[in-house]
C-alpha cells in the first residue's frame, strides 16, 4: 500500500515537471503582454507603425517599428537563402550518398557547429567575416546585413541539416528501390523521389531554422552595424528587433514609453517564432512517416 502511494507521488512530481514548460510559456506570454499593453493607451499603437526608431531623443522620441522589422526581415531572408541550399544539400549528401564512415565524421562536426555559442560566432564574424565582406564587395564598411546573414546561416544550417536528414531517412526504402528498378539513376532518384517524399519534413526543418534565425541576437548585434534605417539592400547596415531589445533593455527606466515599446517588439518576435514553431510541428506531425 505504502509502495503504491510512493509511486503515485513520484508520478505526480514527474507530471509536474513535464508540464512546467507549458506553465512557463503561458507566464511569458502573460507577462510580456502585461508590460506592453499600456503602450496602446499612450502613445497609442499608431506610433508603432512609424518609420523612425529614435528611442532616446531630446527632441521627440519615436518608436516606429518599421526599420526594425525590415532589418529583421532582410537579415532573415538572406540567411535562409544561404541556409536552404547548404543545409538541405548537406542533408541529402549525408543521408543518401555518403559512405557510412564519411557519415560518422560529417555528422558530429555539423552537431558541433550547432553547439558553438553565438557570441563566439559573433566574435569570429567581427574579426574575420566583416573585413572579408568589406574587401570582397569593395564596401566602405563590412558591418552589413549580409555579414549578419552569413553568421546566422552558420547557426541555422545544423538545425536544418539534422531535421532534413531525419526526414530523408524516413522515406521508405521501397520508394527508392522502385525508382532504381525502373532504371532511374541515383541522382535522379534523389531529386524526383526521395526529396519530394521528404519535402514536408524539409519544409518543417526550414521553418524551425527560420525561427532560430529570427530569434538570434548576439552575433547579429555584433556585425550588422545596428543602424535603424529602412532598407532591403543586403549591403546596408540594419538594426534587428532582437539586437534592439538586447542593446536598449539595460538602460530603460521601468515603465517608460521606451520600456513598453521594447515589450511590443518582444511580442512581435514571440508571435512570429511561436507561429513558425507551431506550423513546423503541424507539418511534421501530419506527414511523419515510419
Amino acid at each position: 500500500m505504502k509502495r503504491i502511494r510512493k509511486e503515485k507521488i513520484i508520478e505526480r512530481s514527474l507530471q509536474w515537471t513535464a508540464s512546467l514548460s507549458i506553465v512557463i510559456v503561458i507566464c511569458i506570454f502573460v507577462f510580456i503582454f502585461k508590460e506592453a499593453v499600456p503602450f496602446a493607451k499612450h502613445p497609442g499603437l499608431g506610433e508603432l507603425f512609424g518609420t523612425r526608431w529614435v528611442p532616446v531623443s531630446p527632441q521627440k522620441e519615436s518608436f516606429g517599428l518599421v526599420p526594425l522589422i525590415s532589418g529583421s526581415v532582410v537579415v532573415t531572408v538572406l540567411a535562409m537563402l544561404l541556409t536552404i541550399p547548404f543545409g538541405v544539400g548537406a542533408a541529402v549528401y549525408i543521408s543518401e550518398l555518403a559512405a557510412p564512415a564519411e557519415r560518422e565524421i560529417l555528422k558530429p562536426f555539423i552537431e558541433v557547429l550547432a553547439g558553438i555559442p553565438s557570441v563566439v560566432i559573433g566574435f569570429f564574424g567581427l574579426m574575420v567575416l566583416v573585413p572579408l565582406v568589406k574587401r570582397c564587395f569593395g564596401l566602405g564598411t563590412g558591418l552589413t546585413a549580409f555579414a549578419g546573414a552569413v553568421l546566422l546561416a552558420l547557426m541555422a544550417i545544423p538545425t536544418v541539416t539534422s531535421i532534413s536528414e531525419d526526414a530523408l531517412r524516413s522515406v521508405p526504402r521501397s520508394y527508392k528501390e522502385a525508382s532504381l528498378a525502373l532504371g532511374a539513376s541515383r541522382i535522379r532518384t534523389i531529386w524526383r523521389v526521395t526529396v519530394p517524399a521528404a519535402l514536408p519534413g524539409i519544409m518543417a526543418a526550414v521553418m524551425l531554422g527560420t525561427g532560430r534565425v529570427i530569434g538570434e541576437t548576439m552575433a547579429v548585434m555584433m556585425v550588422t552595424g545596428n543602424a535603424a534605417i529602412i532598407t532591403f539592400w543586403p549591403f546596408d547596415s540594419v538594426r534587428t528587433m532582437t539586437a534592439t531589445i538586447a542593446a536598449e533593455m539595460g538602460e530603460v527606466a521601468f515603465g517608460s514609453e521606451h520600456y513598453r515599446a521594447l515589450f511590443c517588439v518582444g511580442i512581435i518576435l514571440l508571435v512570429v517564432t511561436f507561429a513558425l514553431n507551431l506550423a513546423a510541428q503541424k507539418v511534421l506531425r501530419r506527414y511523419r512517416m515510419g
Binding site: 531630446p58 552537431e111 553547439g115 566583416v130 566602405g140 564598411t141 543602424a227 534605417i229 539595460g250
Partner: protein, 292 residues
C-alpha cells in the same frame, strides 16, 4: 530520430550544468560574505579607471571586495535607482527625472566628480581631415553632411559610428556637441568603445567618438581630430592640459553616485578616489584629474 535523442543528452547535460551554476555561485557569495562586498556599476568609459581604483583599494584593505561592471551610465543609474548597486559610475550627470525616481524608491543620491574626460573625435589614419569645428562635427553626426569633401576631405562617404543609446557618452555627445539634435538614422550604433576603435581603424570613411584614454591607448590605429570651438577659433588637440584648462571643447566630468546614507566602506572608497593616490591612478589610466 537519432539526432533528437542525441539532443536530449545534450539538454540533460545543460540542465545538470544549469543546476550546478547556482550551487557554485552560492559558494562564491558565501565566500564573499566573509569579506565586505561593494558593487560598482555603470559607465563603460570609466570601467578601466574604476577597476584600477578598485584593485589598488583592495590591495590596501584586503578585507574589501569590489565588484566592478560596466553596461553604460544609464544601466548604472537604473541599478542605483533600483538599489542593486552601492556605487554608480556615470559619465553623465544624473537627470532630474532620475533623481526624482531614486527619491521615490527611497534612495537619496550624492554626486561626486572624481575625474574629467575629454571625448576624442577619431577618424581613419588614411583620412586627410585633421581638424573640424564643433558645427561641422554636429552636422556630420546629425547626417546633414554625408561626404568628406563637405568638410575638406576626399570625395568619400562619411560612415558615422556612435555608441548605443544606453551609453553616457551617447547622451553627452548629443547634448554637448549636437545641441540636442537627433543622430542620423544611418549612424551605426556599436555596443562597445573597442568596437568603434576597430571599425574606425578598418573603414576609411569612418568617424566616431571615444573617451580620450581609449583614443590614446589605440595609438596609430585611429587619428584624433583637432577640434575648433567655432569656425574662427584655433584647433585644439585633446590632452590633459587642454581638457583641464577648458580650451578643448568636448570635455566632461566623470561622476560617482552613492547613496547619501552610504556605509563607511563606500565613503572610504570615494575618499580614496579623490585622494592624491586616487588621482594619480586617474592620470595613469589616461583621464584628467579633478584637482591640479
Amino acid at each position: 530520430m537519432r539526432i533528437i535523442s542525441g539532443q536530449t543528452g545534450v539538454t540533460a547535460r545543460a540542465v545538470f550544468i544549469g543546476m550546478m551554476v547556482p550551487v557554485v555561485l552560492s559558494g562564491i557569495v558565501v565566500r564573499a560574505g566573509e569579506k565586505k562586498l561593494i558593487t560598482i556599476k555603470g559607465s563603460d568609459t570609466m570601467v578601466h579607471l574604476v577597476s584600477n581604483w578598485a584593485e589598488e583599494f583592495m590591495k590596501r584593505d584586503p578585507n574589501m571586495e569590489l565588484g566592478v561592471t560596466g553596461g553604460g551610465s544609464g544601466t548604472g543609474i537604473a541599478a542605483m535607482i533600483n538599489g542593486t548597486t552601492e556605487i554608480c559610475a556615470s559619465s553623465r550627470e544624473m537627470k532630474e527625472k532620475e533623481k526624482q525616481q531614486a527619491k521615490e524608491k527611497g534612495v537619496e543620491v550624492k554626486e561626486v566628480v572624481v575625474a574629467r574626460d575629454g571625448l576624442a573625435v577619431v577618424v581613419n589614419p588614411k583620412n586627410s581631415v585633421k581638424e573640424l569645428d564643433m558645427q561641422q562635427i554636429a552636422q556630420i553626426f546629425t547626417g546633414a553632411y554625408t561626404r568628406w569633401n563637405q568638410v575638406g576631405g576626399g570625395d568619400e562617404e562619411i560612415l558615422v559610428f556612435s555608441r548605443e543609446s544606453s551609453s553616457g557618452t551617447y547622451v553627452f555627445f548629443q547634448e554637448h556637441v549636437m545641441k540636442n539634435k537627433d543622430y542620423t538614422p544611418k549612424a551605426k550604433l556599436m555596443a562597445a568603445t573597442s568596437v568603434i576603435i576597430e571599425s574606425v581603424s578598418a573603414d576609411k570613411g569612418a568617424i566616431g567618438y571615444v573617451g580620450l584614454g581609449y583614443a590614446m591607448a589605440a595609438g596609430d590605429k585611429v587619428k584624433i581630430v583637432a577640434v575648433k570651438a567655432d569656425a574662427n577659433s584655433p584647433a585644439v588637440m585633446p590632452s590633459d592640459d587642454t581638457v583641464t584648462s577648458g580650451r578643448y571643447s568636448i570635455a566632461r566630468p566623470l561622476y560617482l553616485y552613492v547613496s547619501a546614507k552610504a556605509t563607511e566602506d563606500v565613503s572610504a572608497f570615494v575618499d580614496f578616489c579623490l585622494s592624491d593616490a586616487g588621482q594619480a591612478i586617474v592620470r595613469e589610466s589616461g583621464y584628467v584629474t579633478v584637482k591640479k
